[in-house]
Amino acid sequence: MDKPTVQIKGLTKKIGSRLIIDNLSFEVPRGEIFGFLGPNGAGKTTTIRMMVGLMKPTDGDVWIEGKSIRREFEQAIRHVGAIVENPEMYKYLSGYKNLVHYARMVPGVSPERIAEVTRLVGLEARIHDKVKSYSLGMRQRLGVAQALLHKPTLLILDEPTNGLDPAGIRELRDYLRALARNEGISIVVSSHLLAEMELMCDRVGIIQNGRLIDVRLIRDFVSAGETERYLFQVGAPDQAAALLREQGVAVNSTEEGLEVGVGAEQIADLNEQLVRAGIRVYGIWPVKKSLEDKFLEMTGGEPLA
């Protein structure tokens, strides 16, 4: 619990004269699921590739379990299990042989461990079939199996839900949560899908144009900066709107109903007045801003996905 699993300091990548990643710094403590959120092309994949040593940083460094990925690659990477983009496997080999292949590259992975991770991802029945016969979901699970083979303390998954059906996404999510909670594995996931991050992560970092523009806990994120707004659903919207405006309340007429920017106490009063005026009130809801709205706010309306 002392040292963070991952430390990134001043990570910068230039390709030619183009600045792809600009001075990125963050840490991921043990057992945390960190979400890396940003529109496509913001630099998520490049950052992840630098974290696993597939790309060389122009400046800055990544420390995994205190080992520099640039200077102590082998010691650093042995703590990492990763899927970078799609889990591309050798299609002409069986799932089992794929796992044997990766097991041979790390000292100390026993045949028992291969069987164990196979069971863990639920591929026992098909593990000896060729990967070409696998569905996308099965390939994803095999991808998770190869990433866990050597008992990493850091799992890095780049767009892990790409191409998975809703059931598969849910399965993966539950599984990752269990890993972080039960085994203390830190997980870094990247995604451009907000709703998914909201459900999966403890903390999110938002990246845009190669810069980390914000890092915060997901629950702070959801409740932060919430101005209180309520939605009235009424029988006669126009009449009600006029009445509310008379009270000096800002009213925003939307398709769902009337949105008013007042606190909870005032809502009760407003309701009473509406009812007195003979307007039927069907419902009153607090309006919550979704992560998506906030994201759009922060990134200046940059289109997503």
Binding site: R49, V52, G53, L54, M55, K56, F73, E74, Q75, I77, R78, V80, A82, I83, V84, E85, N86, P87, E88, M89, Y90, K91, Y92, L93, K97, V100, H101, Y102, R104, M105, V106, Q146
Partner: protein, 311 residues
Amino acid sequence: MLNLIRNENMKIYNRLRTWVLIALLVLASILLAALSQTVANHSNQDWQSVTRQQVEMARPGLNDTDNLVKKSSERIVKIGEYRLEHNLPPEDHQLWGAVRDASGLLVLVTIFTVIVAADIVAAEFSTGTIKLLLIRPVNRTKVLLSKYLATLLFGLLLVAVLFLSSLLANGVLLGFGGAGSPYLLLGADGHVHERSMLLHILSVYGLNSVSLLMVVTLAFMISTVFHSGSLAIALSLIVLLLSNVLLFALHNYDWMRYYLFANTDLTPYLEGSPPLFQGMTLGFSIAVLCAYFVLFNGLSWLLFTRQDIRS
């Protein structure tokens, strides 16, 4: 390192393509054996009279002013007489001769090994598996070396397959009767020596494999640098197939002595026949070959260990 090579072997030999190539090579050596058998049957004169004719034709050359003519005549005469005296028929239309001639199929071995070499790095990039391969606690130099060694092992396997299948095919067709006959060599002392035929044939295969090694190394380099298997196959085969044409067309230029394929055939040096260019020696050719070898592998290594993986 051993584990890495086992991995590469697993990836080579679990593919149908590899076994098709091996089967094709076996088939080719059987076909060649059958073909040369039918040709040999047409010229079925007894060997003693043929040898006697050759000796008589070469005899006037013994006094030739040209040293080279003199030398080759001397070899034909002395070895021919030795054969007649000791009743040792020439190997040409026997088992060993046929196995020796099958070394011509090493071109096929080269092409097949190039196919594997061209793919072994490029395919990891084109399928994206390179990303999962390079995030292991193994440095890139070792990964590259294991791929190169696995490729060479495959080439070696094909050479062995060619040797054994042509030995068996010709043995079945011609009989294993001549298997014990020695290889005759005219020593520097002017006497004929009997040498092991097996060693001689193996050395023929070995010498012919020099060009195999160089072409495969070239293909491996192109595969690594350009990440394109088809480009690697196309370029290295063009280079291989045009090598003799180029040599012939440009043989007036002295700098052609530094051309790779002017140096791959080391047999002239060992047999004492004249080299392609005046003044070329065994040492020179080996130095040129080493330079190309270092150049090709150096380029592969530089790019593979330094490049960013973006595929």
